[in-house]
Every structure is written in C-alpha cells, then in structure tokens.
Symmetry: C2
Subunit: 161 residues, 2 copies
C-alpha cells in the first residue's frame, strides 16, 4: 500500500479526479489505513509541543494506566519489539516522566511508574487526544463512532467485538 504519513500535516492525498481507485477503495485494509493515517496526522502536530510522538504517548499512557507494568508487558500490549522499546523508555525517563523501580518478585525485571510530572503530562495529552478524535473526526456521531470501533475490533479480533 502506501498512502503515507508525510511532513506532519500534509493535506489529505486526493480526491484525484481522473484516476480510477474504485477497487482499492473497496478494500477494508486500504480504507482502514487511510483513516488511521488521517487521524494520526491530526494528533501528531498537537502532541509535538510536548515533544511526544504517538508511540511515546502510547507508552506513557500504558504506564500511567498500569503502575508497575514491565517493559515486557508494554511490548506485548503494543506489539513493540523489546530492543525498540529501550530507547522509548529511556527517553521518557530522561525527561523525568517515568521511573523504573525494582520489580517486587522478579529481579530481572523492572517496574515502570509515571512520576507526578509524567502523570500531569499524560493526563493533558490524553485529554487532547480524546478531543482531537471527537472533534476532527466529528463527522461521526456517537452511534457511528461506537459502531465503527465495534466493526474494527471485529476485524482484528474476530467476533469478540
């Protein structure tokens, strides 16, 4: 595919009058990707003031909502490979937003916690992300939004929507 991301907030690709894209537009994968990139395109520049990328926000959020979570669990939840998480965690730690403590029962692992400052940043960013999703995507009413999420979950989970 490719329907890509770009500099940050490039205008949405088409409509490209002369070109027939009907087959691609009949594919759920194509449309889901375009929708995801459109939303990320809106969220990205609004997180930039904090120096947060979407991944950073996602990891920070997961730690905020799951005090004491391990790196391994973050990796599993977000499907990030362990080597690629190392830098993300280090970045958040260096900015004083999270801290690592000894894991209570497993001395190999480390328990991750947000600091008070990290919690504040996360809360603001979360509010902002929620707002962007339900304002920029406000072409959808609540029923449609709920329906859309249910259908998407059905696609990637298979029935347990």
């Amino acid at each position: 595919m490719s329907v890509i991301s770009h500099p940050a907030d490039t205008p949405p690709p088409e409509p490209n009058p002369g070109v027939d894209t009907r087959f691609l537009e009949s594919l759920i994968g194509y449309n889901a990707r375009r929708a995801a990139l459109a939303i990320i395109g809106h969220v990205l520049p609004r997180l930039e003031p904090w120096g947060l990328r979407v991944v950073d926000f996602t990891v920070l959020t997961l730690i905020a909502h799951n005090p004491g979570i391990t790196s391994r669990q973050v990796c599993a939840a977000l499907d990030i490979l362990p080597p690629n998480l190392v830098g993300l965690v280090r970045g958040l730690e260096q900015r004083g937003w999270i801290e690592r403590r000894d894991h209570p029962t497993d001395r190999r692992a480390q328990a991750l916690y947000v600091t008070p400052r990290g919690a504040a940043v996360q809360a603001q960013a979360q509010a902002l992300v929620s707002a962007v999703e339900s304002s920029d995507v406000t072409h959808l009413d609540d029923v449609e939004r709920t329906m859309l999420i249910r259908l998407l979950r059905k696609v990637y989970l298979g029935r347990n929507a």
Copy 2:
C-alpha cells in the same frame, strides 16, 4: 502508536490479560491501525509467491485500472513521494509487468501501461486480495462490511462518504 507489522504473520498481539488498554481501545486511530495491520498481515504472505509487496500490488493495480497514467498521478493517488516511486516502477518494469511509453502531449512525462503478463498477474492478485479480505475478514457480513467502509471514508474524507 505502534502495534506493528512484524516478521510477516506474527500472531495478533494481545489479548494481554493483566494490562489495562481501555483508553487506547477507545480511540478510532488505534483500532483503525490495528485493523489495517491485521489485514495487511493476511494479505502480505499471499502476495509473496509473486514477489509482490502490498505497495507493488497497489501500484500495479492502479496502472492496470488506469492505462496511460503517469508516475506523478500514481504518486498523488497513493500519497507516495516521487523519489520513492522510482524504484517501484523500475521493479515492475524489469519483471516485464508494466511498460513506459512516451506521453502523447507532455514530453517530460511517461505513460504507464501493464503488459499482457502484467495484466494477468494483476488480475490474479486482485482476485486473491478480494478473497482474503472477504474470507479472513468474514467475521463481517455484507452489511457490516459496507457500513465499515462508509464510516472509514467518512473519517478520512469528511462527510462525502
């Protein structure tokens, strides 16, 4: 975010029992991305026998459906940057699936066409992709599928669904 792609057909990430991902799961962007990656994960290995990646298939399809289309138009339709398309077009050409001819009116541009072999490959691949989408994603009935696509288009186009 990250909910990534992986080796090719890694099992879908979670469910990760202990971890609270409720906020992320309330986001359309998160769910759309997961759905897109799940589908791509199914399509990818099935295109591999032809040596086609998803981008290759998308470009080939666009040329097949739009004889005489220019590189610039392909870029605009798929939101690929021109430098990144060069290698894709060259690859398809070297395999004898597309050819470039002089553009009838603009001597800077070149018109792209599928060859008979290219058309055959594209038709098979298209049938396969359609089949994968409506079998692996068959958790959705036709009504749901139509609804899902309409809602996704509404997200990235804004009303003209």
